[in-house]
């Protein structure tokens, strides 16, 4: 078994009486891409900032490549590449000047031209930061994180607030880095991004790790399919007639009935018999496996009811 490159033992973080991160144990293996998902305030940024050594945990210990980020911060900074959630750089320096500046902080660095090519910023090398688009800024932030060619990269919401084109460019860059064998920790609000880029996904809510696994495992763990039945107009559907079947009705809107079903084939046969019996006009039938987004939303809905939100005291 591969030795974990990042280890978290019983890590927690509180701000006054507000617990931002509950006791968490996590291991990160080298060469994998980890997606850290969760709504705002779930504890994603707190978690990555503890690993970066920016935020002291209230309890527990962290090891990054065997080093304590709070004791050997200098060594940690040399082996980690970090893109912070909010990147602030001097607005009047050009892309090339910023890359050269950050390269001077490290004992070894990648050639500036390689970084420009990798991040797709060759044509903007002379542009000052203030004239870059949101997407270009984020790619520059990622290029700055890559400057020392680190093995571990932490990207904190790199695509938040970007338009779809810019998001795709960022995602392609992350996939290229994945192909280079980097260990990447990626926090994101975009589930499809995690599904496409990540080998392993962790879903946090209210400071707790709710579930983790490969995207495929998480989808399989949901253990059900989703059916969408579209009926003809002016149908007076008796929803109670569907209750005896093993279905969980999600919605009935615009003549479309959506429900979850754990035994899709058997249940669907009986549902179709019912439709024929009742004389309903069925126009369309779609059945699909749940996406990671469905799993994510289900977990959040379930945990919303089990955990009472805590009050923030400032």
């Amino acid at each position: 078994m591969t030795q974990p490159i990042i280890e978290l033992f019983n890590i927690s973080k509180s701000y006054g009486t507000f617990k931002a991160l509950h006791e968490t144990y996590l291991n990160f293996s080298p060469g994998r891409v980890y997606g850290i998902l969760g709504p705002n305030g779930a504890g994603k940024t707190t978690l990555v900032e503890i690993i970066e050594g920016l935020r002291m945990p209230s309890s527990g210990k962290v090891r990054v490549a065997g080093l304590d980020p709070f004791v050997e911060k200098g060594k940690i900074n040399a082996i980690l590449g970090v893109q912070l959630q909010d990147t602030h750089l001097p607005e009047d320096l050009s892309v090339e000047e910023l890359l050269k500046l950050f390269a001077s902080f490290y004992s070894k660095s990648l050639p500036i031209l390689d970084l420009l090519v990798l991040s797709g910023l060759e044509s903007s090398r002379k542009k000052r930061l203030r004239f870059l688009s949101g997407g270009q800024r984020q790619r520059l932030a990622i290029a700055l994180a890559l400057i020392s060619d680190p093995d571990i990269l932490i990207f904190d919401e790199p695509t938040t607030g970007l338009d779809p084109m810019a998001r795709r460019a960022c995602r392609d860059l992350i996939l290229r880095l994945k192909g280079m064998g980097k260990t990447i920790l990626l926090t994101t609000h975009y589930i499809e991004e995690a599904e496409q880029c990540c080998d392993w996904v962790m879903i946090f809510n209210q400071g707790r790790l709710e579930i983790q696994g490969t995207p495929g495992d998480l989808i399989r763990s949901a253990g059900h399919s989703i059916c969408h039945l579209t009926f003809g107009t002016d149908q007076h559907l008796d929803l109670s007639a569907f209750q005896p079947f093993d279905v969980e009705i999600m919605s009935f809107k615009d003549n479309q009935l959506s429900f979850r079903v754990s035994d899709p084939v058997g249940t669907l046969m009986r549902v179709l018999q019912l439709i024929e019996l009742k004389g309903y006009t069925l126009i369309d039938l779609q059945m699909k496996k749940p996406s990671l987004e469905d799993v994510y939303l289900e977990i959040l809905n379930n945990t919303q009811t089990t955990h009472q939100p805590e009050e923030v005291c400032i």
Binding site: E52, L54, G74, N77, A78, L80, V82, L84, D86, T87, H88, L89, P90, D92, L93, E97, K100, L101, F102, S104, F105, Y106, S107, R128
Partner: protein, 280 residues
Amino acid sequence: MNAFFHLTKSYLIETLRSPTALFWSLAFPLVFVVGFPYLFSGGQSERIAYIIPGVLTINLIAASFFGISLNMVTQREKGLFRQFRVTPLKKHTIISANAAHAFIVTTLSLIVQLVVAMLLFGIRIHGSWTGLILACLFGMWAFIPLGLWVGSTARDTKTAPAITNLLFFPFMFLSGAAFPLFLMPAFFQKLAYWIPATYVLELIQGAMVRTFSIRDSLGAIGILVATGAIAFILNALFFRWESQQKINLKHLVLALLALILLYGGAFLLKPQLYSLVQPG
């Protein structure tokens, strides 16, 4: 060293590309260079020669407190230091690069002011050029780290101007830079020994209007050198990567104690201050 060089260069490029920064650091001080002599000299060239060293002192402390300290707080508040914190860049490199940038900009500003004063009012250096250069160097050595320290201590851009004003105005008026010391009541003349700007004015005035001698200026030089050394140490102790980081109160007490001891010593020893004597 490479990081220090690149960071200093980046700060300079930013200043050169910012018309606002250029205006406040190079053009605005000229308002005082031109305005003070017109307002207070009554057209007498001897008085102008006496006023200009005061103006240079005021502009030097203004550059340190308003320019440097606010720049430091802004960088921290905007998150630039946080950005640096996830790289191997050390805090002493950031402090040194900010100091070097401030030193270059303030030197340029003082040169421009001096040239304008010479061209406009026919100011001549009666002491020595070497003395004037040394006076400005010792002044910057003491005041630039003091400005950086204020920037490290102030919590944010709201509190920084308050601290800056609290220091700047007493420094300007009680040092004799804005109003001649020899015309002040005895109590304020004694208070002048507690003000760092007094010794900058003493050196600049000495080099510009009197016969400058290192031996006569040793007291003022010693105090400014010690002030700069203490202020650099304080910067290392007080530097904060993020505004939320708390200041160590013990350090603050130690800092104030060190400065009180230094200036208390100056008050007791009373080094020669020619600015207390009315010019013949």
